[in-house]
């Protein structure tokens, strides 16, 4: 059974989209079923959380829109995603099966107006810092995380630097340290 079939059989109806690129399989799962699906995957052998991170799709979709306009209707198979605009953020879980050494990317789309995901720290403690980092960098909140504070940026920092609309050189924020020596 290939990895693809295996994943399909595990996920069944929860599989929103499956894409394959250079042998890496990426599956999309619905947002409301994250914990349930990941638990199933963990039980099915994908028992090691290699990494967890976010992606901001803002520029990507804008670019795709532009490209579509440029090309016009030369390539009719291009507009795959229709209907409401796609959710802006993605959170990607990199899973690994220790027994078969197969890797799987699990992707959850998070819309901008509802930046909340359930935390998977209960499944893998390894998700602790990565989830904090995603919160820090993208502003996605994880429900049930034991200590959801900023990780890399300082606590008083307001923005989310890895978002595509955050300028590369920052907005001139400075850290004011409060030495509360009384």
């Amino acid at each position: 059974m290939s990895l693809k079939e295996k994943v399909e059989s595990i996920l069944q109806s929860d599989l929103v989209e499956l894409s394959e690129f250079r042998g890496d399989i990426c599956v999309e799962i619905p947002k409301r079923k994250v914990i349930e699906v990941l638990t199933r995957l963990k039980e099915a052998g994908f028992d090691y959380l290699s990494d967890l991170f976010g992606v901001d799709n803002l520029a990507y979709y804008e670019k795709a829109k532009k490209a579509k306009k440029k090309k016009g209707e030369d390539e009719p198979e291009e507009p795959k995603r229709q209907g409401p605009p796609p959710p802006r953020f993605e959170v990607i879980y990199l899973l690994l099966s220790l027994s078969t050494n197969e890797r799987l990317q699990v992707r959850v789309r998070v819309p901008e107006d509802d930046l909340v995901l359930p935390s998977v720290t209960g499944l893998w403690r390894a998700a602790n810092w990565p989830e904090r980092e995603v919160f820090d960098m993208f502003g996605v909140r994880f429900k049930g995380h034991p200590n959801l504070r900023r990780l890399l940026m300082w606590d008083e920092f307001q923005d989310h630097p890895l978002r595509k609309d955050y300028p590369l050189e920052g907005k001139g924020e400075e850290r004011h340290l409060n030495y509360d020596i009384v």
Binding site: F21, W124, N128, L162, D180
Partner: protein, 383 residues
């Protein structure tokens, strides 16, 4: 008195004030390898809680990567784990090559392997040496670091830099093995072994060293997997997992080597795993060098890649076994000459987040020993 001392340190987040003393170790502290910071609560000398704070060396490498071309990002990977920059270079190059769908010529693969194993030896030497320094034995550090200098000389003659190597390019390596390597390697192999041997003599069976390391922050294998450990740290916990064996890349499936495994995951096991891995690396280099010699002199070193690299749309994740563990690069391309998103999976990031679990209930001295044995590199941790 406790209360009076309390006001001096800046605490971040909620800390319990009361019967415990808050000891703020770092970011400037001799044992905090660069800019790590641990906020500890101590009961006498026993650590009650230890909360690592990171981000003091955060340079936004991932954000920068979105604004640089694929070739321009390569030098930035040097600055991740600066003890073994070559492994980062190769990991990144291989990730981009996977994205492009090309395979580099065998000679380039072998050169990469040789250089990576040299870098692994250098990294382990630094880690073991620093562990010794932090436990009060300064001398082995020098015996090891001298050999590292010799390794750096090979790097310098191969691609022109000692520490920030920027080795190779996307599509292969740019230079054949230098004359220096052919001359130096047989001798260097012996001196590295001798230095390891001397370190072994000074430390391993010394009871002071054994008391300091055996049983200190021992860790269970399944806990380690749950925390996302990889590399020597995981192997010290008794889990036999090495990406070179499990998911062979380059030509690691053509060489024979052992994967040293510890038992308890304590500092001593981590130290021994690293010491033994250096020996295995020497074996790998020897075999790779033999394979290299079979190839003709003018065998290709690079795969033809266009000057401006524009990979097709898609996303890949590729991981290699860096000296610290699984070093992965996730790259999503949107078809332009710049990556859309680069995510680096640094190995010590996952290890360091379990720090509190590792040191809880131990003493301050063990905290220092634990930190050195984890080989947390701030550049890699904060990116």
């Amino acid at each position: 008195m406790t209360k009076e001392l309390e006001t001096i340190c800046i605490t971040t987040g909620p800390t319990e004030v009361g019967e415990y003393v808050t000891l703020n170790i770092g970011p400037i502290h001799p044992a905090m390898h660069g800019t790590l910071r641990v906020i500890t609560q101590t009961d006498g000398e026993t650590v009650v809680s230890a909360k690592p704070e990171i981000g003091y060396l955060h340079r936004g490498v991932e954000k920068l990567g979105e604004h640089l071309t694929y070739a321009q990002f390569l030098p930035l990977t040097d600055r991740l784990n600066y003890c073994s920059a070559i492994c980062n270079n190769v990991a990144y190059e291989m990730a981009v090559e996977k994205l492009l769908g090309i395979e580099v010529p065998p000679k380039a693969q072998l050169i990469r392997m040789i250089m990576m194993e040299l870098a692994r030896i250098a990294d382990h030497q630094v880690c073991v040496g620093i562990l010794g320094v932090d436990l009060g034995a300064l001398t082995p550090f020098f015996y090891l670091i001298i050999q590292r200098e010799e390794i750096y000389e090979i790097f310098e003659w191969h691609h022109g830099a000692r520490l920030t190597n920027s080795m190779g390019a996307i599509g292969g390596v740019e230079a054949d093995l230098p004359e220096r390597f052919h001359e130096k390697w047989p001798r260097l192999r012996d001196t590295i072994r001798k230095a390891n041997d001397e370190t072994d003599k000074l430390l391993t069976h010394n009871r002071i060293w054994m008391d300091r390391t055996i049983g200190v922050n021992a860790f269970c294998g399944d806990d380690a997997l749950d925390w996302g450990f990889s590399g020597p740290m995981l192997r010290a916990c008794g889990v036999k997992r090495d990406l070179r064996k499990d998911e062979p890349y380059l030509m690691y499936d053509k060489v024979k080597f052992e994967v040293p495994v510890g038992k308890h995951g304590d500092v001593f096991d981590r130290y021994m795993v690293r010491m033994l891995e250096m020996e295995e690396s020497i074996k790998i280099i020897d075999q790779a060098y033999a394979l290299y010699k079979e190839l003709p002199d003018d065998a290709p070193l690079m795969k033809k890649v266009p000057k401006i690299i524009k990979p097709p749309e898609g996303q890949i994740y590729h991981a290699i076994e860096s000296p610290n563990g699984e070093l992965g690069f996730f790259i999503r391309s949107d078809g332009t000459d710049k990556p859309y998103r680069i995510k680096i999976r640094p190995p010590c990031y996952m290890v360091y987040q379990a720090f509190e679990d590792l040191v809880k209930g131990e003493m301050i001295s063990d905290l220092i020993a634990c930190l050195s044995s984890l080989n947390v590199i701030a550049g890699e941790l904060d990116r």
